[in-house]
Symmetry: C2
């Protein structure tokens, strides 16, 4: 019939006060060895476990962080989430996962919606929200953005150098003798999202060789799933002037494209070379294996979690000395508090171009 023991029960059994038990649990200094032993004995005997609800309420920290991604079943985000969860575990945090389906209103909602009400910080990989949205948004929580380079960056963020990565991938295709490279999943070069930045890099690389940037070679994708890649590739090879290479902005698009080319009787890489982004596991065993830009995902996960932890830590101590006590009695004025925020940090992690079969020699 027993309920879970609380700190009170442990205290009673050990013959000490509740606070002393708390002190033991939290490794406070100034606990005599004897008392500590007694308390630990009681804890073990009763099978006591801290009740996190109580702790959360008192401390104002839950030990949980939110991870907001477009969707898990896109290989890249699954792998990234995997790494982030492991990394968070190193910091004794658990991770709440939200999916936005890359829809703007869901991204907005996730950022200050229900589930985030109770986390200590947020790791957010936006896709649909643009710079303005992000700039406009002031979260009451520490936020670290993933995989973006927002201009009006008021938030910390961690990313790879997308422009350069795309330039390198494009250069590689050009070096392999390709002259007409289409971009699958691209959007007109611009300052905002990943797709725009990669298209930007593509454009730079192409123009650096004196080739014309042709907008009709840049095809946006709706979902970044393999099917989109297949559809767009099929469309492209049927066009009057088909490309001889496809730069796909993620790996599923690329694998779909490879399949569509196969169906169309176009050889990869002999007729058309294909390259992707993200280096998902299965790109290594496709036939042909996939050339891709491999972001340093472990590095990204590590940096992101570290940054978030620092921000959480920073907001805990110095900034708001005791505005709470001070405000006691005042009813008005509940604007968003904006504590830390001393120059948001941008961390750029490395990437590597992995050349595999899909971008082999033309023939």
């Amino acid at each position: 019939m027993g309920n879970r023991p609380r700190i009170k029960d442990v205290a009673r059994r050990a013959g000490v006060s509740q606070k002393t038990v708390s002190n033991v649990i939290n490794d406070h200094p100034n606990v005599s060895p004897r008392t500590r032993a007694a308390v630990e004995e009681a804890i073990a005997a009763l099978g006591y476990r801290v009740n996190l609800a109580g702790r959360h309420l008192r401390r104002g920290e839950s030990g949980v962080i939110a991870l907001i991604v477009p969707e898990l079943d896109l290989g890249y985000f699954a792998e990234l989430s995997d790494l982030i969860i492991r990394e968070a575990e190193q910091h004794s945090r658990t991770v709440l996962v939200h999916q936005t389906e890359a829809r703007r209103e869901r991204e907005m909602a996730a950022l200050d919606g229900f589930g985030t009400d109770f986390v200590d910080g947020v790791l957010f990989n936006p896709l649909a929200m643009d710079d303005d949205d992000l700039a406009a948004h002031r979260s009451r929580l520490p936020v670290v953005l993933l995989g973006e380079t927002p201009q009006a960056g008021r938030h910390h963020h961690v990313t790879i150098d997308n422009v350069r990565a795309a330039r390198e991938a494009t250069d590689h295709l050009l070096d392999a003798g390709r002259t007409r490279i289409a971009v699958i999943g691209g959007r007109p070069p611009g300052p905002s999202g990943t797709a725009e930045l990669r298209a930007q890099g593509y454009r730079e690389a192409v123009e650096a060789r004196g080739l014309a940037y042709e907008p009709e070679l840049v095809r946006p994708a709706r979902h970044f799933h393999w099917q989109d890649g297949a559809d767009l590739a099929a469309e492209l090879v049927r066009s009057p002037r088909p490309p001889d290479a496809l730069l796909c902005l993620n790996d599923p698009l690329a694998l779909g494209a490879i399949r569509a080319l196969y169906d169309a009787g176009v050889r990869v890489p002999e007729d058309v070379a294909v390259a992707g982004f993200d280096d998902i596991a299965l790109g290594r065993c496709s036939v042909p294996s996939l050339t891709t830009v491999s972001p340093d995902k472990p590095g990204l996960a590590r940096a992101a979690v570290k940054l978030l932890m620092e921000e959480i830590e920073a907001r805990r101590s110095p900034s708001a000395p005791s505005s709470r006590e001070a405000a006691e009695g005042t009813v008005s004025a509940f604007e968003d508090s904006t504590p830390g925020d001393p120059a948001p940090k941008e961390i750029v992690v490395g990437h590597t171009l992995l050349v595999r079969e899909s971008s082999g020699p033309k023939s």
Copy 2:
């Protein structure tokens, strides 16, 4: 300078008591329209949001459930997690994800470890723990098992009929004229885990045709990643009596196997047919596309979440009328409480064999 408003602030502004505000928030009956309007005005004006820590402490429910899977970067679990998170959202729950790396001690730890301390229930997909472990484990939380059919099932669980699915897949290969089918990722048929059950189905199908069950054709995999599939397939085709079909117990293994066969100059499906399990997205666009057993993942997610919700609900009300009050004052006896548990339910969701190119005709 404002801190977040609390219920107290709303109450003050609306000129009512805190409890009345709480009543409005929770849609209690007996709140006059006028009061309700006043409170709602105050809530909107202050931008009040419920503090979940307080609510959690008081109600004993956090609104969070834990999902424990081997690892997210295995396509199947990513897709399943995706679906489960969406499903949980329908029930206004958020999902905490833990990864066990399919290691027994991590599975044990995840089940009653740190992060689960504060969730309302657990969805758990065990791989390494066996029946005995599971039977021995009595969680204080509602638990629903995924993808297993533990004998000593003390827990609810949701699964597909693994034996039958494997039998069907094997039959399909046999029907296609294959006579020597290897199982990649298999373990000796037995009662416990998914791998054993599938091997069981395989065995039944093979023996039903009067063929011998040959243990050396059943090769266990360590991680169920594509590389294992590639290694095992390579090994098998080099063996003295190579198989003419591979039944791979998940899709990544199958895709790895296809790649290895390609490297070995063995044609798929002409020389060796390949079939997988799980129907991950990329299996549809591989070359050749992958024949696979497709579990009803949405159905599985829905059933699992529903079952968990019911169990959470059930434990809330009837079983422990007020053992808490009764136990007040008693110090001893804090055994695990075991409230509900009236005959654990088993839900079997459907599956389909999707026949694609990799199991086409022999030649």
